[in-house]
Structures are given as structure tokens and as C-alpha cells.
Amino acid sequence: MIGGRRLRIERRPNASGWVVFAVSVGAIIVSLIAIGVFFRGFGVSPLQAYRELLRGALGSRLGITETIRRSIPLLAIGVGLTVAFRALFWNIGAEGQLLIGAIAGTGIALYSGLPGWMLIPAMFVGGFAGGAVWGTIPAALKVRLGINDVITTLMMNYVAIYLVDWLIHGPWKGPTMRGFAYTDRFPAAAILPKLTGTRIHWPTLAIGLTAALLIYVLVRHTRMGFEIRVAGENPEAARYSGISQMKVTLLAMALSGGLAGIAGVGEVAGVHQMLLGPGQVSLGYGYTAIIVAWLARRNPLAVILTAFLFGVIMRGGDVIKVSLGLPFQLVNVFNGVILFFLIGSEVLIRYRLRLQAVEGG
């Protein structure tokens, strides 16, 4: 009690878009302050660190294009995750779905023997299919047998990681790579075009942006989207109104896994031009995209913004770990702290604090 007044927590009847926006921005600001403590611990002034970070990510043409390059997989995966989360499916297996997409793309690039003009479209289709299959396995397990989706999607990441490792050390090890655990370099026709003078592989970016728009329309304005929303908001009501949980979950996870697979194709065909170690193919994009989708409050159009924001953090983090001599796990700390405060802030969307005078007593 504070001088005859006390703080009370009460339910917020219906949070407006502005409240959600303000709470999200507030959560990020609080995380930045918290991470400042971390910088302080390494003897770096937080303000200087953030200035360096922003300069590295946005202060030059190179910085901006590299930021965008890192946003590309976050955008594709994040858009997909909004659908999975809408359907109340906790897909934390985007990392694995990305890798399977990368494998499928690599297989088509190196071993399909398709004519050159068909390679890139076929790689994207194959990558989408691979990720979709990887995503729908845990979906089917959940709906049919009630197996926890968090555990299956997470575990299938490891299966995908070891699959990549096995391929690059074994059957797909490139003879021209002088013993390194890489596949051979992709043929020129399988390498994605870039915007001139940058490393932005624009076809993946275009797919990501288109997907954001299509998924938005799908969820808001179509029959399937209606079913996904009902099933996600209230599974009992979905059952009652005859909506098939199996159909909805499979569809949502096919989209989610498929878009992660597209991101995987983008990384191998647009950046590395070969399949290499799983930790090199993806810099944890599958996990970071969870935060991207969460911060966007499951709105696929907002993912465009949040994916860029995390692109800034990833690129800026890379820069300051070199210029300020900070450990490379820095970006992970960033992600962890932001997710922590973001989930914590959910309470403020559903409840509000009010200072109230105490009568009597």
C-alpha cells in the first residue's frame, strides 16, 4: 500500500491495436536496457554499443543490404509461423524445416539433371515440399496421437541437423572440395540472382513478401483462414461446428514448414552456393523467427517489419562483436532477452495496473 492507495491488477476488456503496439515497443525498450547491463559487464558503454550496432546495421549501404539479406529467411519463416501459431500449433521446428528445404534444394541443384532454366523454380518447389513434409509429421502425430508438438518439432530439428551432417560427410561430399565437408558448388543455373552490388538474393525476398500478403489474405478473408482461426482460438468450438482439426493443422503446418523450406533454399542457393554444415546454413534463423512472429503478434504483414528489426540485430550484433571485441553468443543473448520480455509483456495486454484509493481500513 502506498499512502492510502494501492496498485490493483484488473482485466483489460479488449486491448486495442495501439495498446498492443505500445506494449511491444515498451518490451523492446526494457530488453535493451536489460541488455545494457550485459554490455556494462563487458566494460562497454551501452549507449556506445547501441550506436555501433545501429551504425553497423543501417549506417552504410553495405550495412543496410546485409541487414536485408539476414531479414530474408526471417521473413519467410516468420510469415509461416504466424499461420502455425494461429492454429495453436507450437512449431519450434522451423530450423529443421529450413534444413530439409536446403537439402531438397541441394539435391535438385546437384543431382536432378533438370535443364538449367527449370532448376531454380524446381528447387523452390522441392524446398517447400521438403519443409512441408517435415512440418506435417509432428502435426499428424499431435492430432492423431496427442503427442506434444513442442517436443516433436524440437526433436525433429536434431534429426534434420544430423541428416545434413551425414550428407555432407558422406554421400554428398563434394569431390572438388579438397576434403572439406561441403557438397560441390552449385551449377551457375542453380544460383539465385542478386540485386547488383549486393548479396540480396531477390527471388527469396520476393517470395517472402508475396507470402506475407497471401497469408494475410488467406487468414483474414478465406474459408480456410476462418477454419484456422476458429480451430486456434477455440478447438472445442471447431469440433462443435464440424471443422476438422486434422485438416486445419496439416494445412497450417504445411504452409509453415514449406515457407521455412523456401528460406533454406534461399540460404544455400543464394548465399552459400552449396550445402555445408548445419550451423553454417542457418544462423539460428528458425529460432529467431519465432520471436519475429511473436513480436508481430501473428500478423503476417507486421512480420515484414519485425523480420527487418531482427535483421538489424543480427547484422549489428555481427559488427559490434568485431569492433567492440564481444563474444559471438551476443546475438543469442539479445534474442533470448527480447523474447523473455516480449512474453512477459503479454500480461500487460490482457491486464492493466491501476492505482486506486483505499477507503476505510
Binding site: 476488456p13 478465406t222 474459408r223 482461426r229 477455440n234 462443435y240 476505510g360
Partner: protein, 531 residues
């Protein structure tokens, strides 16, 4: 009816004789100007309540009148936004149920607070901090429970696990729990809602013994009959305010009802004579299991004709839920058939059955019947979103949904700021109006209405019953499942009684008698009743 007035003091058995003697005439509990607000609602708006020592005091009011809120304030579950609580002539602050118990106030909630996997005695001592060291000793507990059970007719096997007990027995455990904690004031929140008429009699006898022994009981109810039967005085609440406190002996049901709703209630609805038409639903030897895999329906057979309301009476948990679910395709039948006209429904999906013209007003209208975070507009097309006019190719037609919502809101009197309002912001009555508007559009042939007015205020109840009668007049067959016998008798043409998943018999509503139905609900076959 029991005569009221001054009662003989009765044998002084309890431990607090002196306390009671010293402030005998003063009120046991006095609430002064209690205010309790929730977002968007004032649940209690300056309520005064004075409960005399040793009386049964009814708190009467419609659902949503603020009865439970007021008692939760007294029990320390809610902190009032204004007003004072006086106990035995002194103002007190009750910050938690623990504090309430320290003031010797106990509460039996409408939904019991028991741990099903623990035994009776374990439940009783749960949360007590007695100095027994690290180990629990139950011998003393058992002895005290036995003594209390003897004294008040609340005998129970104190070693039995709670999940093995019937609902009536579980209620006894709740009462014993309060008595074990030496409660002087016992709050009972709608204690009869889960009991058979016979169990209600037993409960009332127990309450009588308790007050004869000096306890004070606050009895929350919305049933006028119970007020007349059990109470000494009654306070009527309406929309968060105390309307009046009267001696039960000096009032009557009509006056109480008027105070409760603020106007005369029409107790008789307009009902056209019974003119049954073609067979709509034929159920034959239906068997099904419940969620735990135990038999829930045993060889249930009945017929329902067009233009007829068949009421299904029974204490909850006797197969009503499973019957609804099997007919609407939400549960598989183990054996037997349910046929709508000529279509066998067993084996059909919920969607196929709905498309055949079966409307379903589910028991849990919020948890099952609506999507709380979605708008009224979207909730209204929950079952018709797949086809024109609401869907063109794969795209939803917002305009059509909006026009549909406007029509439904006007026709059923759903009160809401707009058709975009999320369903979770609606009151119970408006949610039910929404569900009915959705289910009854398209003139269904069969209407399954499960507890359609449960927890609704008198206004909404009346409207919803009238809507069901209109459907009957239109020629729909209606299966009405309800625990409210008055409702069943008022609306139904025939009454079917279920007990333990068996049909105990079917009666004509005109000639049915509540006592007879009560016996059948408790498991007596139709033929036995007649003898």
C-alpha cells in the same frame, strides 16, 4: 410450510456458548454499503445486509444480481471497493479466506473445492496448520468428523476418496470441512443445483439442525420455492442492490418474484395445444461410453415427433451430455441407432448432421458454442461459412456476414455495441441469443437444446423459452435437456427421465408430478413409482 418465528434455543452443544450469549441480539454479520466493481460492471452497488445469529438467511436474486460476489467479499475472496464488514458488532477487514475462517466464516461453493484423488479426511485437513509435526495424524480428525457427522446427520466414510463419492456426498464433505474449522457462519452458494429432490430434503434437514445448534446460514439461491421452504428471512438483490429484507413468513412467492425482477413475471407462457406430426428422431437401443470409457448410455430408446418438445430430466451426469453428443455427431455410439427421418445419424460427422438440419444449443455455450475472441458477426456464421452467401469460391463475403449479423441482432435482440464486438464481451443472455440465432436460422427439423436457460436472467429465460415454443409451433422436434424441472414441465409435451444412462420412463407433462419425476431421477422405474 414450516412456521417461522422465535425458536427454542435448543441444546447448547457447541463450544462458543458464551460468545453467543454475550452479543445475542446483535447481528452475526453486517455488511454496510458494500461496493464491488469489475471492468464494465458494478456487481455490488452499496449493498447493506444484516444477518441475525442463528437464522437461515436467503440471498435471493437472478443470476448476475450480485449474490455470489457479495458472499465472496464476505469470505475474503474479493476485496470490496467500498463499504464495511461488521462481525459481532465490530468492523473487520477480511483479506483472504484464511482470515474469514479465523472469523469463523465458512463457505460451500457452488463448484466444490475438493481434491478428487484425496480422501475425505485429507481434504478436510488440507490447508490447516495444526502442530502435528512433519507427519499427518488422522485419528483425531476421524474422531472429530464422526462426531460432527453424528450430530448433524452428515455421516460419511472419512477414508473414502472424494472421486468415489456422489455429488451430494461431496457437498457433505464441504459442509464438514467448514464445521471442522469451527465455522459459526456458513455461506452456501446455490447448494441445491446439483442435488435430486430427495437429497435437497436431506440438506434442508441438516441446515435446520445446524441453526438449531446456533449456527448462522446464508443461503444463496435463485429459486423461490427454496426460499419459502428453508429460510427465516430473505434479502432480495437486484442488479447489485439490495431491494429489501423481509421475514419469509410474511411474504409470498409472487411478491418475492416481483422484487427479484422488478416487474410481474408471467409464469405461464403461451403454449399451443400439442399436435405431434411426423416422426423426426427415432433413437433405438443406444449405447455409448463417457470420456472415461465407462457406460454412459444403456439401451436408450425414444421417439420425437415434429411439433413436439421432449424434455429430458435427470441429475447432471446421468447420460444427458452423452446423449446430446451422440445425436449431434460429437461422440460415437457403441451400439444402437439414432435416426433423423430416414437418415441414420450414428456414423455421421458433426458437419453432416448439422447439414441435415439438426440445430445444437450446447450445454457450455461459451466454451463450446462460441469463439470468444471472434466477433459476433463471425460467430454467427460459424456453421454456414462454407457456402453462399457467406462464401464465394474460397473468399468470405464480409458484406453478407454483416447483413446476417444485423438481421440476427435485431431479430433476437442481442444487445451489443456493434456486430464486430468480440463474443467474449457479451453477457450470458446475449451469448445464448447469439447461439440460438445461429442455430435456428435455416429452419432446422430437430433442435437439441441443452440447458438453454441455465444461468440466465428472467428476461432472457422468458425470451429463450418463447423462442423454443415458436420453433415447436413451426413444426420442429425439440429435445430439451435441462436440470430445471420447472422449465421442463413448463415447456415439454412429454418428459423422459434419465438415471445412470437408463430411461426410467416417459410421462405426459400435463399429468407429471414433480415428486414422481424426482423419484425417477433418483433411480425408481416408472412402474415402481405407480405402486
Amino acid at each position: 410450510m414450516r412456521p417461522t418465528g422465535t425458536r427454542s434455543p435448543g441444546p447448547e452443544k457447541r463450544r462458543n456458548v458464551e460468545i453467543r450469549a454475550s452479543d445475542a441480539p446483535s447481528a452475526a454479520v453486517e455488511l454496510r454499503g458494500i461496493v464491488k466493481r469489475f471492468p464494465g460492471v458494478v456487481a455490488n452497488d452499496g449493498v447493506d445486509l444484516s444477518v441475525r445469529r442463528g437464522e437461515i438467511h436467503c440471498l435471493l436474486g437472478e443470476n448476475g444480481a450480485g449474490k455470489t460476489t457479495l458472499m465472496r467479499v464476505l469470505y475474503g475472496l474479493y476485496q470490496p471497493d467500498g463499504g464495511e464488514i461488521w462481525l459481532g458488532g465490530r468492523p473487520v477487514r477480511i483479506g483472504s479466506p484464511r482470515a474469514a475462517l479465523a472469523h469463523r466464516i465458512g463457505m460451500v461453493h457452488q463448484h466444490f473445492r475438493l481434491v478428487p484423488t484425496l480422501s475425505v479426511e485429507e481434504n478436510v485437513v488440507l490447508g490447516l496448520h495444526e502442530r502435528t509435526g512433519p507427519f499427518l495424524r488422522f485419528r483425531g480428525v476421524r474422531r472429530k468428523l464422526e462426531r460432527l457427522g453424528e450430530e448433524y446427520g452428515l455421516r460419511i466414510d472419512s477414508g473414502a476418496k472424494v472421486w468415489q463419492l456422489s455429488v451430494g456426498q461431496q457437498q457433505r464433505v464441504e459442509i464438514l470441512k467448514a464445521l471442522y474449522r469451527e465455522a459459526d457462519v456458513l455461506i452456501m452458494d446455490e447448494p441445491t443445483s446439483v442435488l435430486t429432490p430427495q437429497e435437497v430434503d436431506g440438506l434442508f434437514a441438516t441446515l435446520r439442525t445446524l441453526v438449531d445448534d446456533g449456527l448462522t446460514i446464508v443461503f444463496i439461491t435463485h429459486k423461490l420455492d427454496e426460499v419459502m421452504r428453508v429460510s427465516d428471512r430473505v434479502t432480495v438483490l437486484r442488479r447489485g442492490r439490495a431491494v429489501s429484507t423481509v421475514e419469509t413468513a410474511r411474504t409470498g412467492k409472487a411478491e418475492l418474484a416481483r422484487m427479484m425482477v422488478g416487474r410481474e413475471v408471467v409464469f405461464r407462457l403461451e403454449k399451443e395445444p400439442h399436435a405431434p406430426g411426423d416422426l423426426v428422431l427415432e433413437v433405438r437401443d443406444l449405447q455409448a461410453t463417457n470420456d472415461r470409457g465407462l457406460p454412459a448410455l444403456r439401451d436408450v430408446s425414444f421417439e420425437l415427433r415434429a411439433g413436439e418438445i421432449l424434455g429430458v430430466a435427470g441429475v447432471s451426469g446421468n447420460g444427458q451430455q452423452e446423449l446430446c453428443e451422440v445425436i449431434t455427431g460429437l461422440r460415437r455410439a457403441a451400439k444402437g441407432s439414432a435416426a433423423l427421418m430416414t437418415n441414420d445419424l450414428t456414423g455421421c460427422s458433426a458437419r453432416q448432421i448439422a447439414d441435415l438440419g439438426v440445430a445444437h444449443v450446447p450445454t457450455e455455450r461459451i466454451r463450446v458454442g462460441t469463439v470468444p475472441n471472434m466477433s459476433i458477426r463471425e460467430n454467427l456464421i460459424l456453421k454456414s461459412y462454407r457456402t453462399a452467401p457467406f462464401c464465394r469460391w474460397v473468399f468470405l463475403d464480409e458484406g453478407a456476414a454483416r447483413r446476417n449479423a444485423c438481421r440476427a441482432i435485431a431479430e433476437y435482440g442481442i444487445s451489443a455495441p456493434s456486430d464486430g464486438t468480440p463474443a467474449k464481451l457479451l453477457s450470458g443472455g446475449n451469448i445464448q441469443r447469439l447461439v440460438l440465432a445461429r442455430e435456428l436460422c435455416g429452419a432446422p427439423r430437430l433442435v437439441i437444446a441443452a440447458h438453454p436457460t441455465y444461468g440466465l436472467d428472467v428476461g432472457a429465460t422468458e425470451q429463450i423459452r418463447q423462442v423454443l415454443l415458436d420453433q415447436r409451433a413451426r413444426g420442429a422436434g425439440i429435445l430439451l435437456i435441462s436440470e430445471d424441472l420447472d422449465e421442463i414441465l413448463q415447456l415439454s409435451d412429454r418428459v423422459l427421465v434419465l438415471c445412470a444412462g437408463r430411461v426410467m420412463g416417459t410421462l405426459d407433462a400435463d399429468r407429471a408430478d414433480v415428486g414422481e419425476i424426482g423419484l425417477m431421477m433418483a433411480g425408481a422405474q416408472r412402474s415402481e413409482v405407480g405402486e
